[in-house]
Amino acid sequence: MTFKDQFKFVRQNLKKNKSRLFMTVLATAIGVAFLIVLASVGFGLHKSLISDMMQNQLVTQVEIYGKEDSQGLKNEDITYFEEMDGVEAVTRRNELAQMPFFQLDDYTSNTNAIVTHFPSEIKADFKLASGRLPEGENEVVVGYHFTESLIKNGANPEKLYDDEGNINEDYVYTDDLLNKEMDMEVIKLTDGKETKKTISVKIVGIAEKPARDWAYEEHVFISEEILQEVEQFTGVMRGASEMYEGGELDANQSEEVYDYVKVYANNVQEVEGINKALEDKGYMIYSIANEMKQINVIFLIMKIGLIFIGTIALIIASIGIYNTMTMAVTERAPDIGIMKAIGAHPRTIKNIFLLESTYIGLLGAIFGTIVAYGISFLVNLCVPFIIQTAFDEAAPEGFLLSYIPWSLTLISVGICLLVTVFSGLRPAKRATKVDVLKAMRREL
């Protein structure tokens, strides 16, 4: 008997008792929907947490703090990083060890000054909102929020901020920054005595707005030459205003040492390999990917637990299928007897009943999946509203309580089919054992 004929036969049989079929499919659909919706909470929370983490930090980024038994990260280290497989860019920054005052017209900003290697920054996706990269030694690029750090000279400290904590409109710098000259003022403390030095710089570029909404970039990118000029003035490494132990400028130290080094991988898949290679070499690193790995393990266990609990619902539904199939075998025993008498192979009989339970399982899985997607959609629609109402606070951006990936659908449908086939096995085997003579005498 061909599969197509078996299938037609099964459909014909199922039509005989539509209400029983409906109830069995309904029970299976509820089981599948419960399994999917339950597990989708694990998937949803995992996804929300990961996307939140990815918003805070780049997954492809690996921060390198230094190397064991080494004084700092040098050019040879940078070259090694750059030559590693899967590395897209290696950014290195040094920071001026004091916060200089920047005077622009009638406004002052007290912010960080950073020296960076622009070609590698651009490879790591650094972009300018306007202007160009610095060419001369006195040219600088400012962060996107630099304007917000500029405060009008002589502003009344009590009226500096409005009720919402923003700088009072009257004190905000509103003019264009590009091509403006400003003075960078650094200090030097010798025995408690303060000496000032002013260096004139020109803003040639403004960095693009950071991708993350919360990120606030008001620093100024200065040139290597300006940093050296400050170092010469204070006589301390990185231009710190006061001498500290080990801060002496070493005239013989020709090699550059970097404060902040970040490695960017080509893609997320490369990060693990890069992390391992760096750790093996003795570098001290921090990567969000490492943290994510642990979170993934925890959520994997949680998802397995939820799927397991959901499967119990399906097992309960399978009792219904078992019952339906057993009744079908009993009711159809005379027909089975006739079929066997005229030459139906026991295997064919078994296949027909197995196909029937699988068909019920498949119908349940399809309807259950549709219902689960509907519930998931509604939950995600309602939860932000509930959070808003109950806590008077907006739900985190992109928050999903329930998320159904394809893998979950496939797993659930797979479990459903497995359970239904299993519950149909015994009735199907019973059908093959039907005694022809008894069946034909209607004695069953």
Binding site: D5, Q12, K16, D335, I338, I342, G343, A344, V436
Partner: protein, 229 residues
Amino acid sequence: MIEVNKIYHSFEIGKKEKKTVIPVLKDVSFQINKGEIVSIVGKSGSGKSTLLNIISGFIKPTDGEVKINNQTVTELSEGEFASFRLQHIGFIFQNFQLIPSMTAFQNVELPLTFKGMNEKERKQKTLETLERVGLAEFKDHYPSELSGGQQQRVSIARALVVNPPLILADEPTGSLDSDTEKSLLAFIKQLNEELGITFLIITHDEEVAEFGHRTIEIVDGHVLEEVGK
């Protein structure tokens, strides 16, 4: 065609210690040649139906063997016998044994479906067979919508559709009136003459018994006598 060699069969009734063995068939042997119509007669409880069930493979004999077309069928497994039946044996039952939820056409088509024949060929063959038994116009009727004679013809069509060399009939006229019985017997004769089909008919009806080429009488589980014409 059929060789029945030293068949013994007994039933066990009761449980454990109180078990009683009742012998039904004792040393039954006979042969049926190709193209014959043979009737097996006997009183109720003589063992004739048990004999037919052993030949059909529905029960295994306690001892002895049955050969059909030189194949020792008593050695076959349930599945193998089912396949063998599908290829070599057609059945006509006293109560027709049609599946009530299927139309006449679907009932006749069923053995061909089990054979795995393609749909187009199957439909054509089924229709031809229904035409042969004169029921083409009733093909969409359910068994409950047909008379006893018509149902038996559907049953014959179902037996014929796979072109079996042998048809086993268990009291084929048992549920029919005398007119219908006559026409059915005539039809069996016609099939035997035209298609060379061997018929083994179990009956207690003398008229049916005399209609065949040969009669085998079973008395108390023995073959009492074989009467040829």
